[in-house]
């Protein structure tokens, strides 16, 4: 019973299904299952490290300079972006050209920036590890939403669906129905 309650709480906190954050990115990566899972995994890295960076920025930035918060978050994500590309080039050798697309797609989007702003704006989340765990949880939520999408992706693209609704329109309606179920659970 405890696990079910925790699972429902985790689903209800899902940023894609409840706040539509990162939906465009998910559609960009939805071409294949490996693309989607790869992107979701890299987004988790971005949300986790990005949340840690947000904690540092939030700790140092006075309230009067709130307008430049976005600029600082963007600079931080930019640093993580180039850092991850360097790390991939150094450690993956030939596979760099194969995997770099996941980093390019995942860097600047609503999933990452939305998570960073959500974590920063939630009063209950406090402390360095609180930020990191919230970032990790948001990334895991993105992975979960990707898995939910891949489960139905083939059927939503099947010839049985009318041509005009095949693919993205059907996926949007599908996500809407899941989002409605979560709304009811909340």
């Amino acid at each position: 019973m405890f696990l079910i309650t925790e699972l429902i709480a985790f689903l209800c906190a899902n940023l894609i299904l409840t706040r539509a954050l990162g939906t465009s990115t998910m559609f960009t990566a939805a071409g294949s299952r490996s693309n989607l899972i790869g992107t979701a995994a890299v987004i988790t890295v971005f949300t986790t490290i990005g949340s840690a960076a947000a904690y540092i920025i939030d700790s140092l930035l006075p309230q009067s300079l709130d307008d430049i918060r976005l600029l600082l978050y963007t600079a931080a994500i930019g640093l993580i972006y180039t850092g991850l590309l360097f790390a991939l080039k150094k450690f993956s050798g030939k596979n760099f050209y194969r995997y770099r697309k996941y980093i390019h797609i995942s860097a600047f989007n609503c999933a990452v920036m939305g998570t960073v702003f959500t974590v920063s704006g939630t009063a209950e989340i406090a402390g360095f590890f609180g930020y990191i765990s919230a970032g990790l949880e948001a990334g895991a939520g993105f992975v979960l939403a990707s898995l939910i999408l891949t489960a139905a992706y083939k059927r939503l693209n099947s010839y049985k669906v009318p041509v005009s609704f095949r693919g993205f329109p059907a996926i949007l309606v599908y996500l809407g129905i899941i989002s409605m179920a979560l709304y009811a659970l909340r």
Partner: protein, 215 residues
């Protein structure tokens, strides 16, 4: 009679927009930011449920995107892709500052309601991805024209979606009660946004196919 002429002109206009050679107009119909490319859909799904929210989003999106892309077009093309993307995002974040200050004057009660979706407009897909993939491959004047139509395409669909969702979701328009027989409260919620946008996308694809068959 007037309606007939209007419908005829609209049909002719849409057919003209469907033609391949009119690429500057792509963003308005054939490659619409929301309905075709599915870009910047988070604010549409969550905040596009009232006309006043939509007005604030339209203002911020238009201003941030137009000025950011125009300024970013002067960034040297020889820079590595990742650096260019980061610079584009930083330029957008800088443009966001005066846009937000002005928005606090024009829409003081709306900005807190929109919340995190307001700053997120600065990292929208048009600025981050479409600039390098499409706009910066064009001549500057063509780029400006194309960009304006991409922005107008977003603005138009955002306004239409928010009007329909406000009328049938809340029974109001611009926060004034309107006479509708039935309201569907879920239409104002994010899940209603997902479903409604999906249906609108399907309708758009159907119309686009029919019109391209006719040309």
């Amino acid at each position: 009679m007037t309606l007939k002429i209007f419908l005829h002109l609209t049909e002719r206009g849409l057919k003209a927009l469907n033609k391949r050679k009119l690429s500057v107009f792509d963003g308005l119909w054939r490659d619409n930011t929301i309905l075709s490319s599915l870009m910047v859909i988070s604010p549409v799904i969550v905040c596009g449920n009232t006309l006043r929210n939509a007005a604030a989003i339209i203002y911020a999106f238009s201003a941030i995107t137009l000025f950011s892309v125009m300024i970013a077009s002067f960034v040297p093309k020889k820079l590595p892709y990742a650096v260019k993307i980061t610079v584009n995002a930083i330029i957008a974040s800088l443009v966001y500052i005066p846009v937000k200050r002005a928005a606090q004057e024009f829409f003081p009660d709306i900005i807190p309601r929109i919340g995190i979706y307001f700053p997120l407009l600065a990292v929208n897909s048009i600025i981050i991805l479409h600039t390098e993939a499409k706009f910066f491959k064009m001549k500057r004047l063509n780029m400006l024209g194309s960009l304006v139509f991409y922005i107008l395409g977003f603005d138009l669909i955002m306004a239409v979606i928010s009007i329909i969702r406000e009328i049938f979701g809340h029974g109001t328009l611009n926060e004034r009660v309107v006479d509708v027989n039935m309201t569907i409260s879920g239409l104002g919620e994010p899940f209603g946004g997902f479903v409604f946008l999906g249906l609108l996308c399907g309708l758009y694809r159907y119309l686009r196919k029919k019109l391209s068959e006719g040309t």
